[in-house]
């Protein structure tokens, strides 16, 4: 007979560290979102909902509120860009995952390594590479002008398109892995059977591979959408002032903006949104997994 350490005891150090330095700070963020901004950063009493009000409204000279869509548009842009990043990554990643899953087993590991290797590279460096490609004196514009196709540099950087390219580049491997995991279990005999029944390649792909890839795409979307929503570096370096996302807004509220309650209100909103999204997605996944 031996006694074994209880699960609660074993997990207690992790519980303490994540509780004190993750959960408690999130609580502080919530509390700060309900305070008044101090003029030099930080926040003070009295309690106020000003942080949340500022997301939708601005104050006139006579202190009356008027609706201002600036921040709302940034929130919407973040949701749209993160959604597009998920969809485009899934569309680009599905054939890659299918290709890898249908190779002989000895090749699969190596191919996965090749696809995921760029993910190991520092994300600042990965994003900076696109600055070198897209800026006015960047490689793409130099090549276009050198070939005589354009005479002036095309404005490739500092727009939503540049942000989107950077996001897809950063998150594509996160989509390939779960789709691969879903397709790896696919029984090749299913496709043989479809072929025996005179299904075209296209039809076999649409009716067999695609439905089996959907759970993988859903898992991938969880890993792409939420982090992309609050991503900072890509919109900061590639999007510039014209393609701000929530992450940039929060960062500037805490630095140059010196409006901590506003930044804390945005953080609370984003966190609540992401957690609700994840819970709903997890619920739906579970419902569909149980036939």
């Amino acid at each position: 007979m031996t006694q074994r350490a209880s699960p609660l005891l074993l997990t207690s150090p992790a519980l303490a560290v994540i509780g004190v330095f993750m959960l408690v700070p999130l609580g502080y963020g919530l509390a700060y979102s309900l305070l008044t901004a101090s003029p030099y950063g930080g926040a003070e009493l009295p309690l106020s909902t000003e942080g949340y009000v500022q997301i939708l409204f601005q104050r006139d000279f006579d202190d009356s509120l008027y609706f201002s869509p600036t921040y709302l548009l940034i929130l919407l842009r973040s949701i749209v860009l993160a959604g597009l990043t998920s969809v485009i990554s899934a569309a680009l990643g599905l054939p890659v995952a299918w290709f890898i899953a249908s190779r002989p087993a000895r090749w699969q590991g190596a191919l996965l390594f090749v696809v995921t290797l760029p993910f190991w590279v520092n994300s600042l460096v990965r994003t900076y590479c696109w600055v070198l490609l897209l800026r006015d004196q960047g490689l793409i514009n130099m090549a276009l002008q050198g070939a005589g196709l354009t005479h002036e540099p095309l404005p490739l950087m500092y727009n939503d398109g540049a942000t989107l390219v950077g996001l897809v580049y950063n998150f594509l491997p996160f989509m390939v892995l779960p789709i691969y995991a879903a397709l790896e279990r696919l029984d090749p005999r299913l496709i043989e059977a479809a072929h025996d029944l005179y299904a075209t390649r296209r039809r076999a792909f649409l009716r067999i591979v695609l439905p089996l890839a959907v759970p993988g795409m859903r898992a991938g979307a969880l890993m792409v959408f939420a982090p992309a929503l609050g991503y900072f570096l890509v919109p900061d370096l590639l999007g510039g002032g014209r393609s701000l996302m929530i992450g940039n807004l929060i960062q500037s509220a805490f630095t140059s903006g010196r409006n901590w309650p506003f930044g804390a209100a945005l953080s609370t909103l984003v966190t609540a949104g992401v957690l609700v999204f994840l819970v709903i997605a997890a619920r739906r996944g579970r419902v569909e997994a149980t036939p």
Binding site: T2, A5, P7, T11, G29, N122, C129, L132, L172, Y231
Partner: protein, 264 residues
């Protein structure tokens, strides 16, 4: 009249995958080539040279930033791994309900957007007036390294079952001996994989280090970000390429470890 049919062959798929791989690697290759440019301008090729690498290595600010990065990543990795080993064992042995509850809590650093973690940690440290310099960043990094360090260990605990540990217990091995002689050696490759992952994730971090850190705790990504903001120079390219090469070495190390694990 059935012809030989390879159900997995699709025309054009290989070419498509090659294009995607080009999309993934071409930007990194462009950076690497640029960094060997000997000229003072990024865009004008002036012969291959190592002079910008020399400039980067001789740059005292970069040395300090790299040292900060390694101190933070090293400390956070050790702490996160020491916390993750018992936590992974506990999670896999917990009842289903407790396991799910604790598992989701430990996944919080992955689920909450990075920028939110950064600003709430900043607010928290400012409120309790915790100003320990590098230690502030070590704490912040340890938190988000824990889930990464834990992932491979949990998978390994799940895979190895309890047969060997039970056998040792049946032979009257005391609990600590079971852990040291059976559990730990079986987990070792996964512990190393998790540690490398945690180390890479810590080195990768920009947002949290930039917001939570102060003037004395500049890490390498924070410093290089500042360089990029001041202007695209050949020195930035060389510094970025060095970071790129270092990441690839760590990735190779991680892969050889996971291969050794799967061969066992």
């Amino acid at each position: 009249m059935k012809r030989a049919y390879d159900p997995t062959h699709s025309p054009g798929l290989g070419a498509y995958v090659a294009l995607i791989i080009l999309f993934l690697y071409a930007p990194l290759a462009v950076l690497t080539v640029y960094s060997f440019n000997g000229g003072n301008l990024v865009t004008v090729w002036n012969g291959a040279s190592l002079r910008w690498f020399e400039a980067v290595i001789a740059n005292g600010d970069i040395q300090d930033a790299a040292l900060n990065s390694f101190i933070i990543a090293g400390s956070a990795t050790v702490l996160a791994t020491l916390i993750a080993i018992p936590a992974a064992l506990g999670l896999e042995r917990a009842s289903r309900r407790l396991g799910v509850a604790l598992g989701s809590l430990f996944a919080l650093p992955l689920l909450v957007p990075e920028i939110v973690t950064a600003v709430t940690t900043l607010v928290f440290f400012a409120s309790i007036k915790l100003r320990l310099g590098l230690a502030n960043l070590v704490i912040a990094h340890t938190v988000f390294c824990i889930p990464f360090a834990m992932m491979p260990i949990r998978a390994r605990v799940r895979g190895m079952g309890e047969t060997l540990e039970n056998a040792a217990r049946d032979l009257y091995a005391p609990p600590l001996a079971v852990f040291r002689r059976i559990t730990l050696p079986l987990l070792a490759p996964a512990i190393w994989s998790g540690a490398i992952l945690a180390f890479v994730v810590s080195l990768d971090d920009f947002v949290i280090s930039a917001l939570v850190g102060d003037a004395g705790t500049t890490t390498l990504p924070v410093y290089v970000y500042g360089m990029i903001r001041r202007g695209i120079t050949p020195e930035v390219n060389a510094a970025s390429t060095l970071m790129l090469v270092f990441s690839l070495i760590l990735a190779g190390l991680g892969r050889s470890l996971s291969r050794r694990r799967s061969r066992r």
